[in-house]
């Protein structure tokens, strides 16, 4: 019987003939934490009796969520992570390097890897053909110390996407549409595996956006085959040798198949306070917003910035709209500067953030006031997410975000272009 991508990877890493429903012990190829989950991981590791890391070269501590630190407490947490990295010889990705879910793809993830991170959006690495899943601090501490952990092999949903996107419709609209269709728990415990002609043609940027948000449907992983596009991405970050082809068996067994016609998708928005509370941008006309965020681990990559620039160039946000842009990594920031994107965005009134998670988690750099609404390219719009339970968050693509910045209300990008 053929295997899904999840079954293939977990079979190889557990040395068993792993099938959906099995519980396996699998090798962990990459374990990482970030600055809001890492300090607990360090303390749990230290209290567990495990004395050293199984694989220090592939254990990474990211300081990306509160960067540069907005307060003394978080500075102390950062110090704890830096000291632990020094003592254990693991990798440290300090302030300015970027969001873990971008840096991990640039520097570490290989097709076929098992990746665990103490951050739910670890699923992003599935775009490169890895089995990547978010875990809590203790589980990642165990993976760091033992070099393995236990996994229930998930059943998989095949998401079959065919057809071409209309102009100004992108991967973000596709994943928001999918989550809106199956619900925020529509894929709980499952592996979402993406197939079809649209996916084959899709850039790595689009694949990262989709894999990133797989968890918003409850999924344990969101996995793509590793193909020529994967190879070109790894080459572009100087890791061509890390490439290996990986695809699901043609006779793999899926719990269900979800078919999506990309031609029919339109700019889609998640309304407060749930990611699955979706609507079409055109139907939300008149919804006023005070802040627009383009960036984060979901949509802070070059292609995303290019879309924002193409819509905003030479224009300014509507009166009363604050535009915030955060490139996801140092590499992206540098490239965006070289290409003139950053100057263009600043001229369009954007406030540029350092590479990092920015305002997504409500810590700093754009917390909302009472009754304010923000349209963000991030991945979550839960009550209180951006620092204030009395505020409202809408999620959309970079194109919808940029178009909405120009009008001050939620706007289908096709209306302004």
């Amino acid at each position: 019987m053929g295997k899904t991508l999840a079954e293939k990877i977990l079979s190889a890493k557990s040395g068993t003939d792993a099938k959906a429903g099995d519980i396996v012990i699998a090798i962990v190829d990459l374990a990482f934490v970030q600055d809001t989950t890492g300090p607990l991981t360090v303390r749990q590791f230290q209290s567990s009796g495990m004395s050293k890391l199984a694989n220090p070269e592939r254990t990474v501590l990211f300081i990306d969520h509160a960067v540069p630190s907005p307060n003394a407490n978080q500075s102390n947490d950062h110090m704890l992570l830096r000291e632990f990295a020094d003592q254990c010889g693991c990798k440290l990705s300090d302030i300015g390097e970027g969001v873990c879910h971008q840096v991990v793809q640039e520097d570490f993830t290989r097709p076929g890897d098992v990746v665990v991170g103490a951050d739910s959006h670890t699923t992003t690495a599935g775009a490169l053909g890895a089995f990547a899943t978010g875990m809590g601090s203790s589980d990642v501490a165990v993976a760091m110390g033992l070099g393995k952990n236990w996994f229930r092999v998930p059943e998989s949903f095949k998401v079959q996407v065919d057809g071409d996107f209309q102009k100004w419709v992108s991967a973000k609209d596709l994943i928001l549409h999918l989550i809106g269709t199956i619900g925020a728990d529509g894929a709980t415990y499952k592996s979402l595996e993406f197939h079809g002609r649209t996916i084959k043609k899709m850039s790595m940027t689009g694949r990262f956006t989709i894999a990133n948000m797989a968890v918003e449907a409850g999924a344990k992983a969101g996995i793509f085959a590793a193909d020529e596009t994967t190879k070109q991405f790894l080459k572009s970050v100087g890791r061509g040798n890390d490439y290996k082809a990986l695809e699901a068996d043609p006779d793999a067994v899926y719990e269900k198949t979800i078919k999506i016609d990309a031609n029919k998708l339109e700019p889609t928005v998640s309304k407060p306070h749930r990611v699955d509370n979706t609507a079409l941008a055109k139907d939300l006309k008149g919804t006023r917003i005070q802040q627009v965020v383009v960036g984060t681990c979901t949509n802070g990559r070059m292609e995303d910035l290019a879309v924002a620039v193409s819509i905003l160039k030479g224009k300014k946000p509507a009166k009363g709209v604050r535009l915030i842009v955060g490139p996801a990594s140092r590499r992206i920031m540098t490239t965006a500067i070289e290409k003139g994107y950053i100057t263009s965005l600043i001229e369009s009134g954007a406030t540029i953030l350092p590479p990092g998670c920015g305002p997504c988690m409500g810590l700093h750099q754009g917390a909302l006031g009472d009754g304010e609404a923000c349209l963000s390219t991030a991945n979550r719009n839960f009550e209180g997410r951006m620092g204030n339970p009395k505020s409202f968050i809408y999620l959309a693509s970079p194109a919808t975000a940029a178009a909405s910045a120009l009008t001050g209300e939620i706007t289908d990008p096709r209306e302004v272009m």
């Binding site: 809001t36 495990m50 009550e383």
Partner: protein, 164 residues
């Protein structure tokens, strides 16, 4: 046998409801962090909850972030178990890893304030207030082993390894 009062919440209680990101500066000061448990779902929860009580949710309890601080602050509030119709994956694993039972049952039959008795071995929730007895789904064996050791860190401390 666990005994306490039900604190009922609705569907889709996210980790941001349980312990919002804006309190991340308190994550290395757990007693202070725990004062904000479930604040964005019920601002008075922390004043009402007593040792042994139960948090009772609806569908998809604990969705969102991987923050283990979410089940941790619920445990620190003295809650003896979480009951829900369904639970998000990472939250479920995190709670068990901390030795906090999560029991899947039909919580529509429980009303806020009901007195409950949970028998972990028999797999039953007895609602003393309305006389109903509910059964909860079996906790997977590997998780039961972790739960019985008081969480994954204790498990690894004792066994020096993890097996299934």
């Amino acid at each position: 046998m666990l005994k306490g009062k039900a604190h009922k919440f609705g569907d889709s209680i996210s980790t941001d409801h349980i312990i919002p990101g804006r309190y991340a500066p308190l994550r290395s000061n757990l007693p202070e962090l725990a004062k904000h448990v479930l604040e964005d779902a019920d601002v008075n929860f922390v004043k009402k909850v007593k040792a042994g009580d139960f948090v009772v949710g609806g569908n998809n309890f604990g969705l969102g972030s991987s923050r283990e601080h979410a089940p941790l602050v619920i445990k620190m509030a003295g809650v003896s178990a979480i009951l829900a119709k369904s639970v998000a994956r990472i939250f479920y694993r995190n709670a068990i890893n901390l030795g906090l039972p999560v029991l899947i049952c039909d919580t529509d039959k429980i009303t806020n304030g009901d007195e409950l008795e949970v028998d972990l071995t028999a797999g039953t929730v007895k609602d003393i207030t309305n006389g109903n007895t509910l059964t909860f789904g079996k906790i997977p064996e590997v998780m039961l082993k972790i739960l019985n050791e008081g969480g994954i860190i204790n498990y690894v401390k004792k066994h020096g390894d993890i097996t299934v």
